[in-house]
C-alpha cells in the first residue's frame, strides 16, 4: 500500500512536468499547424540557461523563471520571424517545416556541445535534497515546487486564452485566420506571439526539468517524444486535455514499474501513442482546436 501511495505521488509530480513540456508544442501546432521539432532543443536550452544563471550569477532557478521565459520567448519570436514565417503551412508545409525546425534543434544542440561540452550537468540548490512527509511518504520539496508551477502555468495560459483580446485572437486565428484579418487582427503578429509563447513554455519546462534531472546537450529528445504522446493523447490544443493526458502518461509510466523491467518503461508512452493513434486519433477527449 505504501508503495502504491509512493508511486501515485511521484506520478502526479511527474505529470506536472510532462504537461508543462507539452503545452508549448500543442499551442504552436494548434495555431500554426507546424510541428515544432526544435521544441526539444529549447527544453535543453532552458535547462542550460537556468544552469548558467545559477552557476555563474548564483540566481535561484525559481527566481530565474522570468529571465528564462523571456529569453526563450525572444528565441521563439526570432525563429518565427527569420525562418518559420517563410514556410508553407499545413499539410503542404509539413516536410519543409519539420526539416527546418529539426535543423534548428541540431544547431541549438551543437552550439551547446561547443559551449558546454557533452558532460552531464545538474542544478543543485540548498533544497535539492530536502523532502517533507506527505500522505505517509516523503516528497521532495523541489518536486512539489515544480508541480505548483505546473499547475499555475496552464491556469495562467487558460486565463490568457479565454479572458484577453490577445488570447481570444490566438484561438480565433487557430480556427479561421481569414475571418481574423476581416476584423482587423494582424494574423502574422498573432503567429509571432504564439510561437514565442510556445517556445517560452518549452524553456520553462527545460528549466524545471533541470532542477530534477541531470542534463547534457542531447537533453530534450526524450522530452520531445513525451510531449508528442501527451499532445496526441490530450487532443490538440486543449489545455485541460493536455493536463489530463500528462497525468495518464505519468501514471502509466510510473505504475509500469510494477509489471515491466525498468528498461522497458520508456517504451510505454510510445505504445500508448500508437494505440491512441489507431483507436482514438482525435485524442482521448476528441479533437477541439483551442476551444
Amino acid at each position: 500500500m505504501d508503495r502504491f501511495v509512493d508511486l501515485a505521488v511521484s506520478a502526479v509530480l511527474l505529470a506536472g512536468l510532462y504537461a508543462t513540456m507539452a503545452y508549448g508544442l500543442g499551442l504552436i501546432y494548434g495555431v500554426l499547424r507546424v510541428v515544432n521539432l526544435a521544441h526539444g532543443g529549447v527544453i535543453m536550452a532552458g535547462a542550460y540557461l537556468g544552469w548558467i544563471l545559477h552557476g555563474w550569477l548564483g540566481l535561484d532557478p525559481y527566481l530565474a523563471i522570468p529571465l528564462v521565459v523571456g529569453v526563450t520567448f525572444l528565441l521563439g519570436v526570432l525563429t518565427y520571424r527569420v525562418l518559420v514565417r517563410h514556410l508553407p503551412r499545413g499539410a503542404a508545409g509539413g516536410p519543409a517545416s519539420l526539416l527546418l525546425l529539426f535543423g534548428v534543434w541540431l544547431v541549438l544542440r551543437n552550439a551547446a556541445y561547443l559551449l558546454f561540452s557533452g558532460n552531464d550537468q545538474t542544478i543543485r540548490t540548498a533544497y535539492s535534497t530536502r523532502a517533507i512527509p506527505l500522505l505517509g511518504s516523503y516528497v521532495s520539496v523541489n518536486r512539489l515546487a515544480v508541480l505548483a508551477i505546473a499547475v499555475v502555468t496552464p491556469a495562467a495560459l487558460q486565463l490568457l486564452l479565454k479572458r484577453t483580446y490577445l488570447g481570444r485572437a490566438i484561438r480565433a486565428v487557430a480556427q479561421n485566420a481569414d475571418s481574423c484579418t476581416l476584423v482587423g487582427i494582424d494574423v502574422e503578429r498573432i503567429y509571432t506571439i504564439t510561437f514565442g509563447l510556445g517556445t517560452a513554455l518549452a524553456g520553462l519546462a527545460g528549466l524545471l526539468s533541470a532542477t530534477i534531472f541531470s542534463f547534457n546537450p542531447g537533453f530534450g529528445s526524450g522530452e520531445l517524444l513525451k510531449s508528442f504522446v501527451v499532445v496526441v493523447l490530450g487532443g490538440l490544443g486543449s489545455v485541460f486535455g493536455t493536463g489530463i493526458a500528462a497525468l495518464v502518461l505519468a501514471v502509466v509510466e510510473v505504475f509500469a514499474i510494477l509489471v515491466l523491467p525498468s528498461y522497458l518503461t520508456a517504451a510505454v508512452g510510445f505504445v500508448m501513442l500508437v494505440l491512441v493513434l489507431v483507436f482514438r486519433p482525435g485524442g482521448l477527449f476528441g479533437q477541439r482546436v483551442l476551444g
Binding site: 484561438r171 480556427q175 484579418t181 476581416l182 476584423v183 482587423g184 482546436v289
Partner: protein
C-alpha cells in the same frame, strides 16, 4: 459629383494562373445599397475579397474615400471601416457567440466602444443575447448569419459588404436578413450586397451591377434592372 465612398477601378484578379476578374469596375456612394449580381462563378465573391484585402488584384486600383487601398493589408482595411460578412459566415465555430462578437471589436479604434456596440447588436438581434454563451458552431444557420452581421457591426463599419447573406436560409429568415439590411441602411450604413436571390436584392438596393465571367455586363438602378428583359428571362425566370 463628389468622390464615391468606394471605387473599384478596372481590377484583374487571378487565382494562380486562372483569371477570375477582367478589368472589373464598380462604384458605391455614401449611404447607398448597391447589389452585385450574377450567376455562380461570375466573380462576385472574388470582388468582395479584393475590396477587403483577402485577394490582391494584379492590376487596377481600389480606392476608399479617394485613397488607394493597394498595399494596405486586410487588417488595416478593417480599421478603415471596411467590413465583410463572408459567404458561409466563417464564424469561429468553437468560440462562443459573445467571444465572436467581442473579437469584432478587436481593432483599437472601436475597442473602447465595445460595450455600447454589443448593446446595439443585442437590441437588433435579441436571439444572440439569449445565446451569447453558446458555441457559435451550435447556432442555426439564421442565427449564425445574425452573429456574422453582428460581428461586422462591432467594428463600426462605414462600408458593410455582405456575401450571400440569404444562402441556405429559410424564406422567413431571408426576409429578416433583408429587413436588417434595410434597417442598417436607414441608419446611414453604406452596403454592398452580393446576392443570388436577385428579386430580394433588387427590392432593397438602389442600384445594381450584373457581372458575368468576371466582367461587368449591366449596370443600372434597381428599377431599370428589374425591367430589363434580359434580366427578367435570365435571372428572374419571368
Amino acid at each position: 459629383m463628389s468622390e464615391p465612398l468606394l471605387s473599384v477601378d478596372a481590377i484583374d484578379v487571378f487565382y494562380g494562373d486562372i483569371q477570375v476578374l477582367y478589368g472589373l469596375s464598380l462604384e458605391v456612394r455614401e449611404g447607398e445599397i448597391v447589389t452585385l449580381l450574377g450567376s455562380n462563378g461570375a466573380g462576385k465573391t472574388t470582388t468582395l475579397r479584393a475590396v477587403s484585402g483577402l485577394r490582391r488584384p494584379r492590376a487596377g486600383d481600389i480606392r476608399f474615400r479617394g485613397k488607394s487601398l493597394v498595399g494596405l493589408p486586410a487588417a488595416g482595411r478593417a480599421e478603415l471601416g471596411i467590413a465583410l460578412v463572408p459567404e458561409g459566415r466563417d464564424l469561429w465555430a468553437q468560440l462562443t457567440v459573445r467571444e465572436n462578437l467581442d473579437l469584432g471589436a478587436y481593432h483599437p479604434r472601436v475597442r473602447a466602444n465595445a460595450a455600447r456596440n454589443l448593446e446595439r447588436v443585442f437590441t437588433m438581434f435579441p436571439r444572440l443575447s439569449e445565446r451569447s454563451g453558446q458555441i457559435a458552431g451550435s447556432l442555426s444557420g439564421g442565427e449564425q448569419q445574425m452573429c456574422a452581421i453582428g460581428r461586422a457591426l462591432m467594428g463600426e463599419p462605414v462600408l458593410l459588404m455582405l456575401d450571400e447573406p440569404s444562402l441556405g436560409l429559410a424564406p422567413i429568415l431571408v426576409d429578416q436578413v433583408m429587413r436588417t439590411v434595410s434597417d442598417l441602411h436607414a441608419q446611414g450604413m453604406t452596403v454592398l450586397l452580393v446576392e443570388q436571390n436577385l428579386r430580394k436584392a433588387l427590392e432593397v438596393a438602389q442600384r445594381g451591377t450584373v457581372i458575368e465571367t468576371g466582367r461587368v455586363r449591366l449596370e443600372g438602378t434597381s428599377a431599370e434592372l428589374s425591367a430589363n428583359p434580359e434580366i427578367r428571362t435570365a435571372y428572374l425566370g419571368l
